[in-house]
């Protein structure tokens, strides 16, 4: 038997790197079909308005225009677009600037654009509300008929009764805990709408042939995208095919099916021609985007010896008119604490609907709780590393053991790699305008197990065909899964061919979300490989024209345990107190993700998450003009997305843990990488300046404001 880790654990370049960098990779926008029409969307110029009338006669008269959709002639529900209220493709009233009002299909892009502008819409503008807390004030304009407070995310996710109300989690007795504490910090933190800003805007190409619908679209889940489309059109699953060969990222922004998929499909159905719908960058920022803004009120108590004793969080998440994501504010679960109460309100507002964005509920929550805990450390003069070693979670919510646990290793090994003891100094010791500081924060993210599928075919040429219903959203999943297959079959990686990204050619997959692809699908591959090896033992290699086929559909579960990945991040930076700038000088990210299948792509994952966190901490925000309800900066330029020059060399440390589950103990990586970043940076800024900045992004205006 070969070395059990011949392939797994070796830094391996992506199998499709060459296709991607040479332009050969075929993305959805590259799809061009004979007779294809081009579609454009007309969007609301108002944050909230009733449509009294739409007249598109002039648009239809334009040469080349084939079809127009509006809320009057199209009543398709976008089921995955909202979990609290029905959301149609075209809604009346429109509830945010950019809400889709009409779609036009024409023979070319320019005609479609011109036609969209010829559509006359008579709006009755309505008052609007942008801020979650203002939306809950008495007399606030209702964004949805049922009011602005949405049902708790737990109820929505679990399919429970959708009665409006906050999500409440409680253990112990918070009031008593606060009363028993030697020190109590009460504070308020604010995070902003932060755009995913993935490279590829949404594009959908739809084609109907003999009653079967094919949609090429960038999606993080071809199967659930297919299921959503089938549901919208009342089709059996096998009548819908979704293809996503390559995509330019999503970071949670492309979960499930998008309205663009359904609009393209409906236009194609009516015109009996293929239709391509492309969003501009601005439309992509506006249509569904970004981490939800939050307002977080904390009361946190600790004992004089640094033992955390009570955490209360009351939070408000502004979700936009629709609830597409949880709206949770997470991070307090990273700590042992006997008395906890968390109350989170998810609120309808007249802004772009928030999407999932890499660890959707975490970095903003960590910004809050990590800042408050850092303030406690400062008050009691305790080193944050020592505080975290004392208070970091040992069991999930102090009750459920973890399957494997490397958080303390992350803190200790990260601190060592960073030279925390050498670099850490008391707060605000520099006298000049440039002040150096260090900070840290921790993170944890689920490493789910669950239903997945994989099929392996060994052909007579010795090629192993791996069929997996995944899309490589940029993580390198295609390579990782091929490595797992090669390892499990004791074959060379170049003998593995991956068939992916096509619902007609690959089995069900839950989709590329929740940092689960390696764990979920990798587990199925290992199981299918065991079957295939058994067949090989019994029958020998396939003869001419023969194939050996094995499929596995495992659905592993945990009994009384939680499976998590962990992280601890350390940052050193300089604050220019006069120019307001923050310049990172050192960054160490220590991660427990179980066994690392591909150190090359895993390291890239960490770096990518850290860079996104730096942007979120220091300059990125989708900013709304309060007087008009219109965003002023949708796009890469305006939203100040981080560039290469905004980054710093990032040292990545993987700690060794043994986990009994998943493929050889591999846990999760993608989302845990961004979780501690904002908190660590905010704490380092405090350490440098002695000023705690409680609102994101920590731009020059806020730094200078805090110093004055």
């Amino acid at each position: 038997m070969a070395d059990p880790m011949n392939v797994v654990g070796r830094p391996t370049p992506r199998l499709d790197a060459l296709e991607r960098v040479t332009g050969q990779a075929r993305y959805s926008p590259d799809i061009r079909l004979p007779g294809m029409l081009y579609a454009r969307i007309l969007r609301s110029p108002h944050p909230h308005a009733l449509i009294r009338a739409i007249d598109f006669a002039a648009a239809l008269e334009l040469d080349g225009v084939v079809a127009v959709l509006t809320h009057e002639n199209c009543d398709i529900e976008w089921a995955s677009g909202d979990r609290a209220n029905p959301r149609m493709l075209f809604n009346n009233p429109v509830r945010y600037y950019g809400d889709a009002v009409a779609a036009v299909a024409a023979t070319d892009r320019h005609t479609a654009e011109a036609a969209a502008q010829l559509i006359a819409v008579d709006y009755d503008t309505l008052p609007f509300v942008l801020d979650a807390e203002e939306a809950l004030e008495p007399g606030a304009v209702p964004v949805q008929p049922g009011g602005n407070l949405a049902p708790p995310f737990g109820a929505l996710a679990g399919g429970g009764a959708a009665v409006p109300g906050p999500a409440v989690y409680e253990r112990g007795d918070v009031e008593a805990g606060l009363a028993e504490s030697d020190i109590v910090i009460e504070d308020h933190y604010v995070s902003k709408h932060h755009n995913n800003a993935q490279m590829e805007p949404r594009t959908a190409v739809a084609q109907w042939e003999s009653g079967k619908l094919t949609v090429w679209t960038p999606t993080q889940g071809i199967t659930n995208c297919r299921d959503d489309i089938a549901e919208a059109f009342g089709l059996p699953y096998e009548q819908v095919r979704v293809i996503c060969e390559y995509m330019g990222g999503g970071f949670g922004n492309k979960n499930q099916c998008q309205d663009t998929d359904l609009i393209a499909a409906e236009l194609a159905r009516r015109t009996e021609r293929p239709v391509k719908l492309e969003l501009t960058r601005k439309e992509d920022f506006l249509s569904i985007h970004g981490r939800w803004p939050t307002s977080q009120y904390y009361r946190v108590g600790a004992k004089r010896d640094g033992t955390l004793h009570a955490i209360e969080l009351t939070g408000y998440s502004g979700m936009g008119p629709h609830i597409k994501s949880s709206g949770d504010i997470a991070g307090i679960d990273f700590y042992q604490c006997p008395n906890v109460r968390k109350t989170v309100h998810t609120v309808h507002t007249n802004v772009t609907t928030s999407a999932n964005y890499r660890a959707p509920s975490y970095p903003q929550g960590v910004f809050g709780i990590a800042s408050v805990l850092d303030a406690i450390c400062h008050e009691i003069d305790m080193d944050p590393v020592e505080f975290h070693l004392r208070n970091a979670t040992r069991q999930y919510r102090d009750a459920t053991p973890y399957t494997s646990y490397g958080l303390i290793d992350c803190i200790e090994q990260g601190a060592e790699a960073f030279d925390w003891s050498g670099r850490r100094r008391p707060a605000a010791v520099d006298a000049g305008p440039i002040r150096r500081g260090t900070g840290m924060a921790i993170g944890a993210f689920t490493a789910r197990l669950g239903l997945s599928n994989a099929m392996l075919r060994l052909d007579d040429a010795g090629t192993l065909w791996l069929h997996a219903g995944v899309t490589d959203i940029g993580t390198g999943a295609k390579t990782t899964l091929a490595m797992i297959a090669a390892e499990a079959m004791e074959m060379d990686l170049d003998r593995v061919e991956v068939v992916w990204g096509d619902t007609d050619r690959s089995p069900y997959s839950v989709g590329e979300s929740g940092s689960r692809t390696t764990s979920h699908t990798g587990f199925a591959i290992v199981e299918a490989a065991e079957d295939l090896k058994r067949q090989l033992d019994e029958r020998g290699p396939p003869g001419p024209g023969e194939e050996l086929v094995a499929e596995a559909s495992p659905n592993p579960t945990l009994d009384g345990e939680q499976r998590y990945s962990f992280a601890a991040h350390f940052v050193e930076l300089e604050v220019d107190t006069e120019l307001g700038g923050v310049h990172l000088t050192k960054y160490v990210a220590a991660h427990d993700s179980g066994r690392i299948v591909n150190p090359l792509t895993a390291t890239s994952q960490v770096k990518g998450g850290v860079i996104q966190g730096i942007g979120m901490a220091l300059h990125e925000e989708l900013l709304y003009d309060r007087n008009t309800g219109i965003p002023v900066n949708p796009g890469y330029y305006g939203a100040r997305i981080a560039t290469h020059l905004d980054t710093v060399p990032i040292d990545v440390v993987f700690v060794d843990t043994e986990d009994a589950h998943g493929p050889w103990g591999a846990k999760s990586i993608g989302e845990s990488t961004i979780i501690p970043v904002v908190g660590a940076i905010a704490n380092a800024i405090f350490n440098a300046t002695g000023r705690r900045i409680k609102e994101l992004p920590i731009g020059r205006d806020r730094v200078i404001g805090a110093m004055s």
């Binding site: 305008p433 006069e578 007087n627 965003p631 002023v632 330029y637 305006g638 997305i641 290469h644 200078i704």
Partner: protein, 330 residues
């Protein structure tokens, strides 16, 4: 987007004639150098849809830099990147080379011309998002009661845009002269008079008429000992305009400042020269105290809006640091 004609005149006279003819016919024609700003604005419908674009790139003789002891001539079609890398410019006019190097991205510098960079339209987010603002013929400047973090602290009203060009600040600091070609031939405009405040002309940021072109820039002979620097502070490290910048030239005689020129960028609708601060330095030995005094003087009279007061702090620090750095006192 409306279809338009792309016209490629072979001579300057022809270009001016095309612009004039369009105007006479009630048509809209825009001149384009690199086109990096214009095409984006046309696509985003921030300016009236053109009937034609007059592409200036085929006109010979406008893409060279001639540096000599008696002065320097820069063609309007010289790219920003060429300017930033030109050895003569770097040696004699470091403030201009640095300002050019600070522009946007390598792609924008390769495409954009010096004339286009100087004449680019505002990057106020209200203007660029298509708000019906004063600059676009509307009746209000949305920044006044809105998101004015990036807006003017000097010279504002009724519009509070800031001039976005990096090179413009350097050219004002160098006492450049702009050659303007128009239907009545060529005229020369000092850089200090080229840019106009919104209170004087709401629709344009400079004196150019619709059928006039900025075709060249003359710089006076650089004086021995004249040092300069351009310091640009952004809210990310690349591909954006200055929050605050300073273009500074100092003519030093040993430790004593013979002459100084200080122009602030990102703070006003035009490159904002602060003569009173220059006067503080004239004839004086540069010290930390004097630099601070000049910086304080530079920011006297600033009128920040609700959200841009931080620019006063920034600009003050930037002036002080730049004076110390360029004078070698730091």
């Amino acid at each position: 987007m409306k279809a338009f004609a792309n016209l490629s005149p072979a001579t300057l006279a022809e270009a001016v004639e095309l612009l004039g003819a369009a105007r006479a016919n009630g048509e809209i024609a825009y001149p384009a150098g690199g086109g990096s700003d214009l095409l984006g604005m046309v696509k985003d419908e921030l300016v009236a849809a053109p009937d034609s674009i007059v592409d200036l790139k085929r006109i010979p003789g406008l893409d060279s830099i001639r540096v000599s002891d008696s002065g320097t001539a820069i063609g309007g079609l010289v790219t920003v990147d060429t300017l930033a890398g030109d050895e003569g410019i770097r040696l004699r006019y470091p403030v201009l080379a640095e300002a050019a190097a600070a522009v946007g991205t390598p792609q924008l510098k390769n495409t954009g011309t010096i004339a286009g960079n100087v004449c680019q339209r505002p990057w106020c987010w209200y203007f660029r998002q298509g708000f019906d603002c004063l600059k676009r013929g509307g009746d209000q400047c949305y920044s006044v009661i809105g998101e004015n973090q990036q807006h003017a602290i000097f010279g504002g009203g009724p519009s509070f845009i800031v001039h976005p060009s990096d090179t413009a600040n350097a050219l004002v600091a160098l006492d450049a002269e702009f050659q303007v070609a128009g239907p009545n031939g060529e005229r020369r405009v000092p850089a200090s008079e080229f840019f106009v405040l919104p209170r004087d002309n709401l629709q344009r940021e400079n004196v150019l008429d619709a059928d006039e072109l900025l075709v060249g820039i003359s710089l006076p002979a650089s004086q021995a000992g004249r040092n300069g620097a351009y310091r640009k502070v952004m809210d990310r490290e690349a591909w954006t305009h200055a929050v605050v910048s300073v273009a500074l030239t100092l003519d030093m005689d040993g430790d004593v400042c013979r002459d100084a020129c200080i122009v602030l960028g990102g703070v006003a609708p035009i490159p904002w020269r602060v003569s009173a601060a220059e006067d503080v330095l004239h004839g004086q030995g540069i010290t930390a105290e004097l630099a601070q005094q000049a910086a304080d003087t530079a920011l006297e009279g600033a009128q920040p809006l609700a959200k841009n007061g931080y620019k006063v702090t920034m600009a003050r620090a930037l002036v002080r640091r730049s004076v110390l750095e360029v004078s070698g006192t730091a």
